[in-house]
Structure formats: C-alpha cells, structure tokens
C-alpha cells in the first residue's frame, strides 16, 4: 500500500503532464496540415463528410480566436473523420457489390 501510492501518483503525473501543456500556434499548424492533407485526399475520392468540413472549419475558427487547445483537438478530430471517409471510400470500391440485388 505504501509503495503503490507514490507509484500511482507518478503514473497519474505521467499521463497528465503532456496534456497539461497549452497547445501553441505551431501545434495547431502541424495538426491542421495533417487534417488538411486527409481532407484533400477524401475530396479527391469524392467522398467528403459534412462533419469533416464543419470540424475543420471549427479548428480554424478556434485558432483565429487564439484557443489553440481547442483548435488542435478539432484539427485532430477532422483528420480522424477524413481518414474514416477515405477508409469508407476505399473499402466500398468492392463492398458495394454485397448489397446488390441479383
């Protein structure tokens, strides 16, 4: 019990520390660039999701307002959404046939 308490505190600190640092403009730019690249790829596949568009716009808006924590979180979410739409478009190239009436 005596030993496990400091260990638990150390573990909690390890988890909490990275997220405790406020995001910067540079963090946002990196996250936004990654999101934008995935966004463009999804557009090229003609399979963009409306939620990707709105989440990416929200990231930009938060950054313009100086809220980089929120901006980075939104950019990462937009990237995940865009990547999911890319996965969907790629898998549907063949998967649609399973739905076909024959």
């Amino acid at each position: 019990m005596k030993r496990s308490l400091p260990l638990a505190m150390l573990l909690a600190l390890t988890v909490a520390l990275p997220s405790a640092r406020a995001a910067t403009d540079a963090d946002f730019k990196a996250a936004y660039a990654a999101a934008e690249a995935a966004f463009k790829e999804a557009a090229g596949l003609r399979n963009q999701w409306t939620t990707t568009v709105s989440t990416l716009a929200a990231a930009k808006k938060a950054a313009d307002g100086g809220d980089f924590d929120r901006a980075v979180a939104s950019a990462k979410e937009a990237e995940a959404l865009a990547k999911a739409s890319i996965f969907q478009a790629t898998s549907e190239k063949e998967a649609w046939k399973a739905m076909e009436i024959r």
């Binding site: 999701w49 409306t50 939620t51 568009v53 739409s85 969907q88 998967a95 649609w96 739905m99 009436i101």
Partner: protein, 287 residues
C-alpha cells in the same frame, strides 16, 4: 481395380464439371447485364411487397402505408404542386428572346416525352437528364440556365412530367460500352455507402422501404423517380431529381456532389432503367 479406376475417373469428371460451372457463374456475375439487373430489381420489390400493385410502386410511401395513402388521396384533390404545374405550363409556352421555345429543342415539341429521360447521348458519350436538356436548350437559345434544384426547373419538369402521366418509363440502353459503363457506374453509386452515417441509397430504399425513419415512411427504390419532380412538405416547396439526390447525400452526412455531376446523371439512368414499364406519376407530392 477396374472399379476403383472408374470411380476415380467419375469423380474427376464431376469435379471438372463443377469447376466449369463455377467459372461460368463468376464470368456471369462480372458481366454487365442491365436486362437481368432490371428484372431482378423489379422482382425483389414485387416479392417483398406481394400486396402492392406493380404500377403503385411509383407512389412511393403511399404504396406502403394505408393511412398515408388516404391522406394523400384527399390532398390530390387540391395538389400542392398545382401552382408549379400552372407556372411550368406558362413558362414552357413562353418564347425565348430569340423567338424560339422549349418545344424547338425536344422531340414531339416536348409533350409526352418525360418517360424517355434520361437518355444516353452517343455523341457526347454521357447520360443526358431532362433537367440538363432543359438548361442546354436555354443556353443554346441565349438564355441563362436555371438552378437545378428548385423553382423554375421544378415547374418546367412538373409540366413535362404531367404531359407524360401514365406512360410507362421507357429508357433505352444503346449497344455502346460507354452506356453500359454509365449504367454500371449508376448502379455502383446507388449501392455505395457514404457519409458519416454509412448509408447507401439502398440502405433506405431497398433494405427498408415501408419502415419509418423518424417520422417518415421510406419509399421503395422501384419507381422512385417516376414521381419526380415532387412537392415536399418538408421543403415547403417543389424539388427536382437533383435536389432529391443532394438532400439524400446531406442526410447521410456526405458532402453532396454538384448538381448534374456524372455520378448523379448515371444513378438517374440506372434507377430509371430498372423502373422501365412502370408509369410516370409526376409531379408528385411527398410529406
């Protein structure tokens, strides 16, 4: 020994025959066969809804739900698309600035021809929808094109559909590999899941017609375009086929394509072809 050899030989022949049969089936599955597709498509709905009259599928949700049907029949005494129909008739007859009119752009003066649209234009190598043909007619006569999604376009197509009411859909598929490719592309678009909701057109209109999605009763895919354009209470106005596709995409949280994109033209071609023989019922009214 001789008996064993006979059994072995027999087994080999059976195995070879099975292989040949399977190979034929694979080839058949990969071959584009619109006639077989249309037959299978129609049979699917006829068997799924044995109590619905074949010509009634074009009435969408009203063919699936008796309460809605009664409300619709009462509404049809003063149909909500009537203003658009009257406006469309006037617009159709009004000459362009150069003195020509829509009648000069279409076979039979544009009357009673809705059932032949969309068609595959072998010169262009693409599908031409009625909405596209109307705007091309306008532009060829020095007029600005209309919005593809409502108002004037819906009025014009409402009038043209009305002059074809009751005529069976009659979409031709010329012996042209590009036409087959357009049909196949339309089919692919129809069955492909898209948007964050991961829905295809078929998710609602093949798997779930007659079921409710929130307050709406889903229409069967068979004959779904025969009623276009439609007055939708949800829109508080008229909408074209383009508007219907765009709205469906948005509802699945997919960014819609531009009106009259190749994919939309092709899916209209596919859906119209598989509804061949079913009557035109447009303009329609939907909740």
């Amino acid at each position: 020994m001789k008996r064993r050899a006979t059994i072995l030989l027999g087994s080999a022949v059976v195995a070879l025959a099975a292989l040949a049969f399977a190979a034929t089936r694979v080839v058949a599955a990969n071959k584009i066969d619109p006639v077989a597709d249309a037959k299978a498509f129609q049979n699917f709905f006829f068997q799924k809804f044995p109590n619905v009259k074949r010509e009634d599928f074009v009435n969408g949700p009203y063919s699936m739900n008796e309460d809605m049907r009664r409300q619709w029949q009462e509404k049809e005494e003063f149909p909500p698309y009537e203003f658009a129909l009257d406006a469309g008739k006037e617009m159709f007859a009004a000459p362009f600035k150069n003195g020509k009119g829509y009648a000069d752009c279409f076979p039979n003066g544009g009357i009673g021809i809705r059932q032949n649209y969309p068609y595959f234009d072998e010169k262009e190598g693409k599908v031409v929808t009625l909405e596209l043909a109307l705007n091309r007619c306008r532009e060829a006569n020095g007029e600005a094109p209309y919005s593809y999604v409502k108002d004037e376009m819906a009025s014009l197509t409402a009038y043209m559909a009305f002059t074809s009411r009751g005529k069976p859909m009659d979409i031709k598929l010329p012996d042209d590999p590009r036409a087959l490719a357009a049909f196949e592309n339309g089919k692919r678009y129809f069955y492909t899941r898209r948007g964050q909701m991961n829905f295809s057109c078929a998710s609602c209109h093949v798997q779930s017609p007659g079921e409710r999605i929130r307050a709406e009763v889903l229409a069967p895919a068979l004959g779904i375009l025969n009623a276009m354009p439609i007055y939708r209470s949800e829109w508080s106005g008229m909408g074209t086929t383009s508007r219907r596709f765009i709205t469906c995409n948005s509802q699945t949280r997919a960014v819609p394509l531009e009106p009259q994109a190749d994919e939309y033209r092709d899916v209209e071609y596919f859906l119209s072809y598989v509804a061949n023989g079913l009557p035109i019922s447009g303009p329609g009214a939907r909740p």
